[in-house]
């Protein structure tokens, strides 16, 4: 099934792209400084930022991926739904307000606040780029495959199309345009998914348990084609061992609190209170959405059927669009296809912008220029970095065509939890953190994760098809080792290399964490 012969899908898509390009045009006129480009002039409200955070976070992997996973496996998909939500309270309790009060554009501002700027910024830029690039590869390859299925374009055309539209948003409209694209996308996705869930429940007397019972009855017959005959209880496919489960859980939980494109959004609001409120809204929307995907997944299992879903290709990703067709006809199918496209666009735009901020704000302005660059130069470099990263994203997307990149999402969360989260926590909470400690922690987290993923079963067995002998590291997701390791490395190295200046500034840091910095608020206008 494809939307290539569905004029409505193409119409919806053009309406979305035209509307967002109009927004980009107006955003470009308002983007006159670095504070506009990176932080939307700090003019976004808490409610708006909550929606934008949800839009940044609800990727195609969570909409199409979880619905597909549940439609084929049942219960096991819920492990991801919950795991992807529980990182948000952690961001609220530990990160959001200090981040907003201490930093300017990137989370590196917070890590480097008391420390020697250059080494910390270089290390943190490495951590950021590792996360952004692996996540961009996963998103671009997913986008190419999906759009090929949904709209019948060739893979490279699909990747280029996503790249061009996304670069246009970021390059001209910066954070203002990106934020509004995310808000619109979140609204469309939440509205579309809710409508679809209601249409499904309509057929089951508006009672989810009727739907689940029907799914359990159908799937109990192996001939129905579900991967698991008991779909309302844990299977054996997703969680293989207890340590693997705990390690994946840690990565999902703390990785969210280390994603640069999420952290960057806290600078778009005027103060810490708005940052706090925005996380609550994000948690409400995302949690609601994950509850809905469960109905969509079981709905697709019953109303479309695992065999038909698998036959459509994409490893289950077509479950949600096919369900739309089953409950709402081809018009609704077209709408959901356009929403899926919008979802991908918004996420890659947010990622590209956060990568560009690391390159231009952290590396160019603060390392290369020693913090001394005027507004016009900052804006110019920020735009050049966005263009560079956008082109990289397209090339990487094309280079990785046909590769199995599902593991890359787990890898991304694992790097974020190991490289970025420990350094951020130590910088905010621990008086004795030193430059050497922060740098070693970040490098250990990013390089350690990459090495252990490579030596682990995901790459050696699943990808390279080696025998079990080639596996040097037993866990599929190394987060358990690399995140704890990054904390330990940061602490031990700091204790071995005392830095009185950094320790002396801790009181000032604590003060600013509590009450914010008046000078940053003034920059906005």
């Amino acid at each position: 099934m494809s939307a290539s012969n569905n004029p409505l899908a193409i119409l919806f898509f053009f309406v979305f792209v035209s509307a967002t390009l109009v927004i980009t045009y107006f955003a470009a006129k308002r983007t006159r400084s670095a504070a506009h480009f990176y932080a939307a002039g700090r003019s976004i409200t808490g409610f708006q930022n909550g929606l934008a955070l949800a839009g940044d976070y609800m990727s195609a992997a969570s909409f199409l991926g979880i619905a597909g996973l549940v439609s084929l496996n049942g219960f096991d998909g819920l492990i991801y739904s919950t795991g992807w939500l529980v990182g948000w309270p952690i961001i609220l309790f530990l990160i959001a307000e200090p981040l907003r009060n201490l930093g300017k554009y990137t989370f590196t501002d917070v890590v480097a606040y008391r420390l020697t700027q250059k080494p910390v910024r270089i290390a943190a830029a490495i951590g950021t780029m590792a996360v952004v690039l692996t996540y961009l590869i996963a998103q671009m390859v997913g986008a190419g495959t999906l759009i090929k299925l949904l709209f019948g374009l060739a893979y490279w055309q699909a990747v280029c199309l996503v790249g061009i539209v996304m670069i246009t948003y970021v390059l001209f409209g910066g954070m203002i345009a990106t934020t509004w694209v995310q808000i619109i996308k979140a609204g469309l996705l939440l509205g579309g998914a809710t409508t679809m869930a209601l249409l499904v429940l309509w057929q089951f007397g508006m009672n989810p348990t009727n739907l689940f019972a029907k799914a359990a009855e159908l799937a109990s017959d192996p001939a129905y084609g579900a991967q698991n005959t008991k779909v309302l209880e844990p299977g054996t496919k997703v969680v293989t061992g207890a340590w693997d489960a705990v390690s994946l859980g840690l990565a999902l939980m703390f990785g969210t609190a280390g994603l640069p494109h999420i952290l960057m959004r806290f600078y778009t609001v005027p103060n810490a209170k708005a940052a706090r409120v925005s996380v609550v809204w994000a948690t409400i929307w995302i949690g609601f959405f994950y509850l809905i995907t469960f109905i969509l997944g079981f709905g697709a299992m019953v109303l479309v059927g695992p065999k038909v879903i698998l036959a459509a290709g994409g490893g289950g990703n077509m479950a949600a669009p096919m369900l739309a067709n089953a409950v709402g006809g081809s018009a609704f199918f077209g709408f959901i296809c356009a929403v899926a496209f919008a979802t991908i666009l918004a996420v890659v735009a947010g990622l590209t912008l956060s990568g560009a901020a690391a390159l231009s704000h952290d590396l160019w302005v603060n390392v290369f220029r020693g913090g001394d660059a005027d507004e016009a130069e900052q804006l110019r470099v920020a735009r050049a970095s966005s263009l560079l990263l956008g082109v990289c994203a397209v090339l990487l997307g094309i280079a990785f065509e046909g590769q199995n990149v599902a593991y890359m999402v787990g890898l991304t969360f694992s790097i974020a939890a190991s490289a970025n989260f420990p350094a951020l926590m130590l910088a905010i909470f621990w008086r004795k953190l030193t430059t050497a400690g922060a740098v070693c922690s970040i490098l250990f987290g990013s390089i350690g994760t990459l090495v252990l993923i490579y030596l682990g079963p995901t790459i050696q067995i699943d990808l390279l098809k080696h025998g079990p002998d080639a596996v040097w590291f037993p866990l599929k997701n190394p987060c358990l080792v690399t995140m704890t390791g990054a904390f330990l490395v940061g602490i031990v190295v700091s204790l071995l290399s005392p830095e009185p200046r950094a320790e002396g500034m801790f009181a000032e840091t604590r003060d600013r964490v509590l009450v914010g910095a008046p000078d940053i608020k003034a920059v906005a206008h």
């Binding site: 919950t82 948000w88 689940f212 844990p234 969680v239 209170k273 409400i284």
Partner: protein, 97 residues
């Protein structure tokens, strides 16, 4: 000023304690669920009513629990923490003049 600093330290400590406590609760809730998935399969498979197992209920509860914790925190921060900080800041401004 000494007094203001002490009060600032006190409210800061209180906020971190609450933040860490809520983080611990979230960790316990989620990893409790994960460990049940790994080790408590028969319990999660128990049917409460046709179409509803303990597993599905607990999974949905984890999501609602996360939302509940964030609402609790923001309520405390907006109604208790912010006024105290604002009060201290106002007194500090007054002390400077």
């Amino acid at each position: 000023m000494q007094d203001l600093d002490a009060r600032l330290s006190a409210i800061a400590a209180k906020r971190w304690q609450l933040g860490l406590l809520l983080t611990a609760l979230m960790l316990a809730g989620y990893f409790g669920f994960i460990l049940l998935v790994a080790f408590g399969k028969p319990l999660l498979a128990t049917l409460l009513m046709p179409g509803l197992t303990v597993g599905i209920l607990v999974g949905a509860m984890v999501i609602l629990f996360a939302q509940g914790l964030t609402l609790f925190y923001v309520n405390w921060a907006n109604n208790t923490y912010d006024p105290i900080i604002n009060q201290i800041m106002a007194e500090r401004e007054g002390a400077k003049k």
